[in-house]
């Protein structure tokens, strides 16, 4: 078999992958991703059927065997690392080393956060200068409670949103309790 023929196989596999990728990124199956998936599978299957003899002898080669072994080990290793990372991210363990403990919530605030019944959403209208500071503080609350979320908006780059909520001055916070404002 000519070496160039393998390009067809790679093209098929590439189509399958891009079909899946577009499916996952968009979150829904549109026409393009379905066409890519089906044509990818067809090309791959037909290619394997036509060249099954050559492929079988290739699989029994020494370096393919070792390569597959190596690949498998790598995938297992990555899976373990991802698993550990997911657990650690979920636990949200933080140590505050600032001298004034500015990133640690008081007991009072923690209690309030733990007793939240409705989801609280904060919309912060800020400019670039104060955005980082406000983000820092809101982030502490977000980490502590699943009911709390926030969004920062710069009125100068997103004036439509600012108008929608009738924002006149910078550094305004709007709190949403459930749907109520």
């Amino acid at each position: 078999m000519k070496k160039n023929n393998y390009l067809i196989l790679f093209f098929g596999i590439f189509l399958i992958f891009s079909g899946f990728a577009s499916f996952f990124i968009q979150g829904k199956a549109d026409l393009a991703s379905i066409i890519m998936l089906i044509s990818g599978f067809l090309i791959t299957i037909i290619f394997i059927m036509l060249n099954s003899k050559d492929l079988l002898s290739l699989l029994l080669k020494r370096d393919v065997k070792y390569g597959a072994n190596s690949l498998l080990m790598t995938i297992i290793f990555i899976a373990i690392l991802v698993f550990v990372q997911i657990i650690v991210v979920d636990k949200k363990i933080q140590f505050d080393f600032t001298s004034e403990k500015i990133f640690t919530l008081s007991e009072q605030s923690t209690k309030v956060l733990n007793n939240l019944k409705n989801p609280i959403k904060v919309m912060a209208f800020t400019n670039k200068a104060t955005e980082i500071k406000i983000n820092d503080i809101l982030e502490i609350y977000r980490i502590k409670s699943k009911m709390f979320s926030y969004e920062t908006i710069d009125p100068s780059t997103n004036p439509i949103k600012a108008k929608e909520y009738n924002i006149q001055v910078n550094n305004t916070l709007i709190f949403f309790n459930g749907d109520k404002k």
């Binding site: 996952f24 990124i25 390569g67 190596s70 790598t74 290793f77 550990v84 990372q85 080393f97 600032t98």
Partner: protein
Amino acid sequence: MGFVAILKKELKSYFYSPIAYVVITMFLILNGYFFFGMMLSFAEYGRMALENNPEAKININDGVIRQLFGNMSFVMLLILPVLTMRLFSEEKKSGTFELITTYPIKDIDLVIGKILSATAVLLLMVGLTSFYCVFMYSYSHPDTGRILTGYLGTILMGVAFISMGTFISALTESQIISAIVTFGILLIFWVLGWVGTFSSAEGTIAEVFKQLSMLNHFESFGKGIIDLSDVVYFISFITLSIFLTLRALESNKWRS
């Protein structure tokens, strides 16, 4: 303890040649420039704030320390691939790689020795920036905890850069390819978190990209927080790179 011999050999080739000195000097010049600029603008900002409000509390921690470590890690991103590009590529090019594989040294010792040698240069390089702290302490009241977490984050990130550079270096015999590929991969990992902000992707996918991004995991160190997930991320990155380097070295034995 087989890695000690490799570590010594590599340190010699760093410090008997101009490489380490040039790299460290450029790193310090760039960082010194940034530090000078930040201090100057911070002083200006402080003076203005005091004029308007004599009671104003001006904080060097947000103004300088956070940016200092942010800038430092970006300069590392540019400079460390140059430090690691020669680790394996040079040996492959000059033909000493075959020699080294016949030594009674395990692959893991070889890799760890090489990574540690570059880490030693990194520590010296980052350690010399502690001069900045002398200036900060003599003119202001910086937060010691914040400085220490910042250094911890910077060093963790630097070792992560080095181990990825070592892996890429083990793949190719061209030093230029090694450096440019390392730089590209690290830059991609650096900005991966932006996917969440510039596309319509949201929810889980944006979160996954954020978790993969180095920048997102570096942020809290500059704030003075040690988040366990950040430490685990960098350690995972380092172990994965070492693991991949071992696989790449092993492949020389069976590849036809």
